[in-house]
Amino acid sequence: MARTFKGGVHPHDYKELSKDRPIEDAPAPDVVFVSLRQHIGAPSKPVVKPGDEVKKGQLIAEPGGFVSAACHSPVSGKVKSIKPRPHMMGTPVDAIEIENDGREEWAEECNVPADWEKLSVDELKKKIAAAGIVGLGGATFPTHVKLSPPPDKKIDAAILNGVECEPYLTADHRLMLEQPDRVLEGFRIIQRILGGVKGYIGIEANKPDAYMLMKEKAMKYPDIEVVMLPVKYPQGAEKQLIKAILDREVPSGGLPMDVGCVVQNVGTAAAVYDACARNVPLIERIMTVTGDGVERPANYRIRIGQMLTPILERSGLKEGVRKLIFGGPMMGLAQAGPDIPLAKGNSGVVAMMEAPLFEPRMCIRCSRCVDHCPMGLEPSVLSLLSEARRYLEMAEHDVLDCIECGVCTYICPARRPIVQQIKIGKQKVLEARKKK
């Protein structure tokens, strides 16, 4: 029996645009804007001030709380200012501006090989926290928090997420193909931190080359199993991946650790490897630039904080692009313009020449959204409740379990903006809970 989950859809994935493009270095930035809000949780606190000289890999902002992450300078140069800058969420957020002097000098103790197998679990965790690593799949949850489950939760499995189910994106695919050892070693570090648990690597069937390569590389580790998963969106969502690989269901309102597992993205694993075995903090990542709005779709190695505009120019941004999306088309965030500094969570940018508009119509109760909802919710009911502004009743229909994957909106024949309606409901329900 194929390993999968209930529901889901099959949008055309458009990965052919960029999946054969090797990772290339993005043009070196003249100036970077390292945002203090690149992760879920409290914003980081800057530890440098304007005028300071910084080296590549130097700590420039420390975590602002338990669920928070550090930031490091991706270039060597001079701190110019700390001011609000555009942010992919739309509201300006404080960012540290650093002018690149082009010397690429590493900070002390950075970029020095280390033997991670000799380090203790606590030392490894400290290194990961110090490197400012967050979930690079897009959710940007601080990795060291995820790797420190409370003692009463017994973890017995780690899953490496190489599914990349969002259409268009190929960053994880290229990473697995070009640097499989980095990914695999990083995953072994994660397994070790969690107590030598069994590891699974989930890869969608539309990436047979990556599957074969990872399988071959993982042969020598008996505690790692590479699993091929059927192509279906949202196969790469945490809860759906756990269901498909382990056949465990994360309880409503729960976390993967409640069913004894931890899921990490392949990009995160590579960053973990860099932090533990090379002493390099998270200052770079792989990002796809694709869509019919660029002449030359490509996969870039970008510096955290560099501006998007020069990268788009390098890829040949066409005139008259109608839509620019950070992330994939299903869950990504549409942007008002390209003048945005990139952050840790940017897995891709999709430029589209067409942005068809649909007039939403009445719900015809065809129940397609109910059939396809991977969380087993009733999106049609939630949509109607939201339309009637009966937000608090949405809580009774488990609106908070929605993962906002967009399947309901994609499948709706009446073109109703169901996810957006659900998002308002979630917000209102959370606000009401907070008041109590």
Binding site: G90, T91, A336, Q421, I424
Partner: protein
Amino acid sequence: METVVVGVVILGLLGLLFGFGLAMAGKVFAVDVDPRVEKLLDVLPGANCGACGNPGCSGFAEGLVEGRCDLNDCPVCSPEARKAAAEILGVEVGETERRIAVVHCRRETVPPRFEYHGVKDCAAAQIVYGGFTTCRYGCLGLGTCVEACPFGAMYMGEDGLPHIIEDKCTGCGNCVRACPRGVISLAPVSRDVHVLCNSKHPGKYTRDCCTHGCIGCKRCEKTCKHGAITVTDFLATIDYDKCVNCGECVEVCPTGAIGDVSLLRDRKPARERYAATAAQEG
């Protein structure tokens, strides 16, 4: 014939029995309802708007009788109704002035940051990229407040702004809560001078996105003889307890961010009325 008689007799006896039972149960399990609750319900507005924090007027009436609530919690009550309710409760209430909603925005004068095609609801628009207007504090103009109004006291004007019908507005505050940007607030009905801007952007940014935004120049603060205006975060706010409707600030405001809404409310301009009363008092 006999069967009919037997039937009638049995049914009659059963009826008597149940009737007696019910009468007893009514006496034994009687719930004492404070008669004042019924009376209060007659004088309360009956709009069930929820502004007092209770699930409707009956909840509020019970709260009043139990001493949980205060008569002033109900913003909808007319002064007469409040007085009548106070008599029923046997308490005294101070005179409070009726408050109505005021929209603190005149709408930005530059095109929006991007085209928005999502759900026609301000709260929904606000979660998409922080709202489509260049000014991040101004009215989004999708009319969520109008739909939240239980009294039909609001309508969307041709200028893309919500307008308030003075006579119908009860000051229940549902629009204030519905607005995701806090553009609407409640103010005493007799005050006609308001800051018609909500922008906490620095002055230059406000000027770039709006010709009539508050830029925080503080001229109003310096001009006001009554100390009613304070400027914080590039935005003037009027203390309605101190404001006397003299309209001096309206005159000096360089952008028109402080406005006199008298004409909209079919009254003479605040400045004229103030001058007239000042002359009367000599």
